[in-house]
């Protein structure tokens, strides 16, 4: 019961924030709605016993990416853009395509919903002594070591790339 209430609370947070993000005129309002939405997603992680990802979501998304967005909003002059048309000319076609995809997803979810109806009993925590973070660390640094290193290389390339992009003269 408590789980269901929390789920619906966070779902409203996520979807409400997302809708405001997409529809607001001012980019700062969009960014703040996006923060609300991301915090809702973090709550959903916590509901599903992914505590490490909850922390990563808060620190990285809400603390890191959103500050980056707000910096760029301050750096780039958005006043002119806020006064102009907010949606492009193809919005009708875009909504039509999204509606088609929505119908498709709804159809398949209704058809396949029975596969996921199993409500698991809360897993006995005594089964494993190690916590979520320890489990992730064990798998990440043994089974997924090479992808982990490749991800660090990707981040290095991204750092260099964004510095080169934002520099005044290359």
């Amino acid at each position: 019961m408590m789980d269901a209430l929390l789920f619906y609370f966070f779902a409203v947070l996520v979807l409400g924030g997302a809708i405001f993000t997409v529809t607001r005129r001012s980019a700062v309002h969009s960014a703040i709605s996006l923060i609300v939405s991301l915090i809702g997603v973090a709550g959903l992680y916590l509901l599903q016993q992914a505590e490490f990802l909850f922390a990563v979501q808060i620190v990285l998304y809400v603390g890191g990416i959103m500050v980056l967005f707000l910096f760029v909003i301050m750096l780039v002059n958005l006043d002119l853009a806020a006064k102009q048309r907010q949606f492009n000319r193809q919005w009708g076609i875009a909504l039509l395509c999204v509606a088609v995809v929505a119908a498709e997803i709804t159809y398949f979810m209704r058809k396949g919903a029975s596969s996921f109806q199993v409500v698991r009993a809360p897993i006995a925590i005594t089964a494993t002594t190690e916590g979520n973070t320890e489990q992730i660390a064990t798998v990440l640094f043994s089974q997924y070591l090479l992808p982990f290193e490749i991800a660090s290389l990707l981040l290095l390339v991204a750092v260099v790339g964004s510095v080169v992009m934002a520099k005044k003269r290359i």
């Binding site: 939405s37 990802l53 990563v56 489990q135 991800a151 981040l155």
Partner: protein
């Protein structure tokens, strides 16, 4: 209110994905397009965590970490491109950047 199943999470993630897609396809402001991409990536992550919880397998969470890494890299490079664009064209509206159009 029945118990929360995995399909609830899948429905929520599908809704978030569609809202993000609407944002990417209809908005003109590039900053908000980048924010909508973040929404789409979060929808993917909700899906991964839901299945990770359903199967009691931690691999889904590992994959979600890699998705978050990609989102960070994409946001950094995208905003860098946006700053370079604003310096050269004085606009942040996606349909005013039409140099390749004839």
């Amino acid at each position: 209110m029945g118990p929360i199943t995995t399909s609830h999470y899948l429905a929520l993630s599908a809704a978030l994905l569609l809202i993000g897609t609407i944002g990417v396809l209809t908005r003109r402001n590039i900053v908000i397009i980048l924010m909508s991409i973040e929404l789409i990536l979060n929808a993917v992550n909700i899906n991964l965590i839901a299945f990770s919880h359903y199967l009691q397998n931690v691999n889904g969470q590992i994959f979600a970490i890699f998705v978050i890494t990609d989102a960070v890299a994409e946001a950094a490079v995208g905003l860098g491109i946006l700053i370079a664009l604003f310096r050269n064209k004085e606009t942040v509206l996606a349909d005013e950047v039409d140099l390749l159009k004839w």
